[in-house]
């Protein structure tokens, strides 16, 4: 089985160790060229160390956590919800179209024309669905890259990111995804209606 790209990268410790070993070997030489190489390697080691420190400060674990998954799930829910609504709109239009046949000759065709315009407009769902699907794929790609970064830096996935909001602000979470939240019936029961 092929190792993921991230697994081929050296860890911070491995890079530092490799350069230090190389520098040790070169330090035993006394020529001017070797001194220059040693200095360059010292600079390189410093830069690599800074790079790792900066990457560490990005806190990829926080980025990874629930943010990306949540965005992915929310967008998928948008596609699902618009698809369901559009299907329902079309279903109702079909009923209108049938009823239009019972209307007087001067009214029926006008209603059918209106229904046709609605059918045409409903094709938006296919276009927006495809666009959102593209965004979802991009998010998945970002998620994979972040995973690779976490792996390279020797981190582990956090189980969940803590929501630090308090009070009323913590109540603002937008519509729940399917299967989450409670139904109108459950709300009515909860409120005693």
């Amino acid at each position: 089985m092929t190792e993921p790209n991230a697994a081929k990268l050296l860890t911070r410790e491995q890079v530092t160790s490799a350069i230090t070993t190389l520098m040790g070997k070169l330090s035993s030489q006394s020529t001017q060229i070797h001194e220059k190489i040693v200095q360059d390697l010292f600079d390189l080691a410093g830069q690599i160390d800074s790079l790792y420190a900066e990457l560490g400060n990005i806190q990829p674990n926080n980025l990874k956590s629930d943010h990306l998954k949540s965005a992915h799930d929310e967008l998928s829910a948008v596609v699902e919800a618009t698809s369901t609504a559009t299907f329902q709109i079309i279903g109702e239009m079909e009923k209108l179209e049938k009823l239009a046949k019972e209307l007087p000759a001067d009214k029926g065709p006008q209603v059918v024309d209106c229904v046709t315009r609605v059918y045409e407009a409903c094709s938006f769902q296919d276009i927006t669905g495809q666009r959102i699907t593209k965004v979802v794929k991009t998010l998945k790609a970002v998620e994979e890259r972040v995973d690779a970064l976490i792996h390279t830096l020797g981190g582990t996935r956090p189980s969940e990111m803590k929501d630090t909001r308090i009070g009323e602000e913590a109540l603002l979470n937008g519509p729940s995804l399917p299967g989450q939240g409670i139904s109108q019936d459950e709300i009515d029961k909860l409120l005693g209606f």
Binding site: I90, E97, T116, E120, S123, Q125, D126, I127, G129
Partner: protein, 131 residues
């Protein structure tokens, strides 16, 4: 000579909503024998099994496991199906897409979103006046 509205038409799209829209628009044009498939592979199977054969295929492009373009190529390579009129109806509107479809033997190409008048005119361009 006008189009035989009794001909069997196959609508191929992975979005059920879009299949329903195209079906309804075709019914408004007078077509009554309309089949549906949810991807290229499903369409190819239905085309091979169909009796009588489909007289027109209206297919989306971006589908899995078989795209509309792959379906078109399979149809053109199949001796029993190769003459089937094929209209691509897709959101893929780049020049290279249209060229690829043309090279594969598409009869016409409709870009989404589209309207009823465009669908009618493209079908007429392929089959003749609908009447």
């Amino acid at each position: 000579m006008s189009v035989d509205k009794k001909m069997h038409v196959l609508v191929v799209d992975d979005f059920p909503t879009m299949r329903k829209i195209i079906r309804n628009l075709l019914e408004q044009l007078g077509f009554s024998n309309i089949g549906e498939a949810e991807n290229g592979a499903d369409a190819l199977r239905k085309m091979r099994e169909a009796n009588p054969k489909f007289g027109l295929v209206i297919s989306d492009w971006n589908m899995e496991p078989m795209t509309g373009l792959q379906l078109l190529k399979e149809v053109r390579a199949d001796n029993g199906l190769k003459a089937t009129p094929f209209i691509m109806i897709t959101a893929e509107n780049k020049t290279e897409n249209v060229i690829a479809a043309k090279e594969a033997g598409v009869n016409n190409y409709i870009v989404k979103p589209f309207n009823a008048a465009t669908l009618k005119s493209k079908i007429e361009a392929v089959l003749g006046p609908i009447g």
